[in-house]
């Protein structure tokens, strides 16, 4: 196959290459410069993009009111819904979050995360059975959050709760990731 037919097929004529020592060193220098500039160009775009992507939205921990103390019966566990620590304007229903709240005494409350400590599914409180049960893989917890049976190894995560001027407040927390 001749050069002429190559050219007619692709339109590219092979260039005669300067094979002297100076020519090779010049080409080596230009290659190094080009590769460096290309890498720099990529880095200029990749670093801010990657930084933004890897950055996590850390939210502040806020106290949210749940209701008056007397709204809750001693010994009962109920679901309480409250707002995320820093909801985004477009979060809609996902700005809400919930927990299980148990009134243990006159002023004592305990709040449990909804999430099963196995893989995070929402546990349900069965008031008659006095147990939390997870619908995903069948984990069961006692009323005080201890593991009763099934795959979970750790008790339900608790959230800080306090009573201020007769109002029960819960402190928002990150999703508990058990690891």
């Amino acid at each position: 196959m001749t050069d002429a037919s190559d050219e007619s097929r692709t339109g590219i004529a092979p260039e005669a290459v300067d094979e002297t020592r100076a020519g090779r060193s010049r080409r080596g220098f230009l290659s190094a410069v080009s590769v460096t500039l290309g890498a720099l160009m990529a880095a200029l775009v990749a670093v801010p993009s990657g930084w933004f992507l890897l950055g996590l939205r850390r939210s502040t921990r806020e106290w949210r009111p749940l209701g008056k103390v007397d709204d809750f019966t001693v010994g009962a566990t109920v679901e309480v819904a409250f707002e995320d620590p820093s909801p985004l304007p477009w979060a809609g229903v996902t700005a809400k979050t919930a927990a299980w709240l148990r009134r243990e005494g006159e002023q004592e409350f305990k709040a449990f995360a909804l999430n099963c400590t196995h893989l995070g599914c929402p546990v349900r409180w069965l008031p008659d059975a006095n147990l939390f049960m997870c619908p995903c893989h069948g984990g069961v917890f006692y009323a005080d959050g201890r593991v009763a049976s099934g795959p979970p190894e750790r008790p339900l995560v608790t959230y800080p709760v306090r009573v201020r001027q007769g109002v029960v407040e819960i402190q928002t927390s990150p999703l508990p990731i058990m690891g």
Binding site: R58, A91, T94, S173, P174, M178, G179
Partner: protein, 477 residues
């Protein structure tokens, strides 16, 4: 007609299309003869990928990527007849892609087409397999109903099992401290831009390598691959016995591809896409998140393996499998290709298919899940409408026993069937078990009043498979 031909010649002259791409179409491939139809799965996967790209773009043009609006926008798409069908095509396309890429990988593995010089063909294929699985996972989540929302949480929890970086990785997946406003955008960008871009790039490389190395010939027992002589032997073989890819081999790809597309379309119209569940409201705790069918086996696996092995399976399992796929062509790059000369390869495939099949079956049954919607036992099962046995049946339901234990066909199947508890255990034995609990049963110590315990024991003691004459009028199933 002649005008068209002249137009084509003019375009071809100034664009050089047949000069540059003609050889790609007409390159010679081995005449696969009897096994020719085994070579259609890779191209069919590509066809379905393109189906996914087209329907995905159409769906993305109406989908709203906001945690608060995505669900409503999907309801809007669903109300449109064509939108409904498009969702169906995209769903069954995803299923078809998983199935086809799986068959393609098994075919290549059994025929050992990953050996010299096609090691990188295999490695790019492994990466494409992983990316396809990620597409399936992220896509299921974009449905952003209740299951979609909890899938994000479960994904973060699973990633949280990774040593050292688990906690960071889990919150990275959620794009913050909690699953909320930022989470969905992250999965959308991954599903629509990031992963498809990688798939396009790797797919291009994969196809380039197929051309560069030539498609593998059907293996023959007693004809091992020798890297020193393979290439020259292959070139001589295709020059002698091969056929041009277009159209001698390509027609099968198109016949099979069309069949697949027709199947997807039929299923999309007749069966339709999965229904949207409840809205992604984290405060609705009446949720039972289940993955789509392609992950059901893994979901089941996580429920049924012993507790101590869980982190090994979640973290080490995929790692070991991934390393096996990566090192397979690097360490086994030459030698016999025929599956009959590599019997362990058949065993490995049978083992993996068996495991997935078994756990998939278990996933459909979901025996570990408490049946939290089990209704109270009817009088016909209990045998009496009032008295201690009837009271015991009520305790049996209210205390959650029935969610895990079957009695005469009612209730869950996590624990032993108690239809014949009275035949198998004494009153004392039943009481002991209720107090002590077990690995998968809570202890009811302190949870039952003496009166409740007494009637519960009365009820369980009255469970017989061969009922005494008094209750024979209500025979169990």
């Amino acid at each position: 007609m002649q005008g068209l031909a002249r137009l084509w010649h003019w375009i071809d002259d100034i664009c050089g299309l047949s000069a540059s791409f003609g050889p790609i179409f007409t390159h010679r491939v081995p005449a696969a003869k009897k096994s020719a139809w085994l070579y259609v799965f890779g191209s069919a996967t590509l066809v379905v990928f393109l189906v996914q790209v087209v329907t995905g773009i159409a769906l993305a043009s109406a989908y709203v990527t906001g945690s608060g609006q995505a669900y409503d926008s999907l309801r809007f798409i669903n109300q449109n007849t064509l939108g409904h069908v498009l969702r169906g095509i995209h769903y069954f396309g995803a299923s078809a892609m998983i199935v086809l890429i799986g068959i393609h990988a098994v075919r290549v593995y059994l025929m050992a087409a990953y050996k010299y010089p096609r090691q990188v063909n295999w490695l790019t294929g492994v990466a494409l397999l992983l990316l396809t699985v990620l597409m399936a996972f992220t896509g299921q989540l974009l449905r952003w109903d209740q299951t979609g929302f909890w899938t994000a949480v479960v994904a973060a929890e699973q990633a949280g099992r990774t040593p050292l970086i688990g906690n960071w990785l889990g919150h990275f997946i959620l794009a913050g401290d909690t699953a909320g406003g930022a989470t969905l955008s992250r999965f959308f960008a991954a599903h629509v831009f990031f992963i498809p871009a990688l798939i396009f790039a790797l797919l291009g490389f994969h196809l380039y390598l197929v051309l560069h190395n030539g498609i593998s010939e059907p293996p023959k027992a007693g004809r091992p691959v020798d890297p020193r002589t393979y290439r020259s032997w292959y070139h001589a073989m295709v020059a002698r016995d091969g056929v041009p890819f277009w159209p001698d081999a390509a027609w099968r790809d198109l016949v099979f591809g069309l069949l697949i597309v027709l199947t997807i379309l039929t299923l999309a119209i007749l069966v339709g896409p999965p229904n949207l569940g409840k809205p992604p409201d984290p405060t609705i705790i009446q949720a039972s998140p289940r993955p789509d069918w392609y992950f059901l086996w893994y979901f089941a696996l996580l429920s049924l393996i012993p507790k101590w092995s869980e982190n090994l399976v979640i973290v080490l399992g995929p790692l070991v499998f991934g390393l096996f796929l990566v090192f397979l062509p690097l360490l086994g790059g030459k030698g016999e290709r025929h599956p009959l000369r590599r019997p362990w390869s058949i065993l490995i495939v049978a083992f993996i298919v068996g495991i997935i099949g078994y756990y998939w079956h278990m996933g459909v049954l979901a025996p570990w899940s408490p049946r939290m919607d089990a209704p109270p036992l009817p009088v016909a099962v209990v045998g009496v409408a009032s008295g201690p046995v009837a009271d015991g049946a009520k305790v049996f339901h209210d205390k959650g026993c029935e969610f895990c234990h079957t009695v005469s066909g009612y209730g869950g199947i996590r624990g032993p069937d108690l239809s014949d508890a009275g035949d198998r255990m004494t009153r004392a034995e039943i009481a002991t078990r209720i107090f002590s609990g077990a690995e998968n049963m809570p202890s009811y110590t302190g949870n039952l009043t003496p009166a409740q315990l007494a009637v519960l024991l009365d009820f369980l003691e009255s469970r017989h498979l061969k009922p005494p004459a008094a209750t024979a009028m209500f025979p169990p199933r």
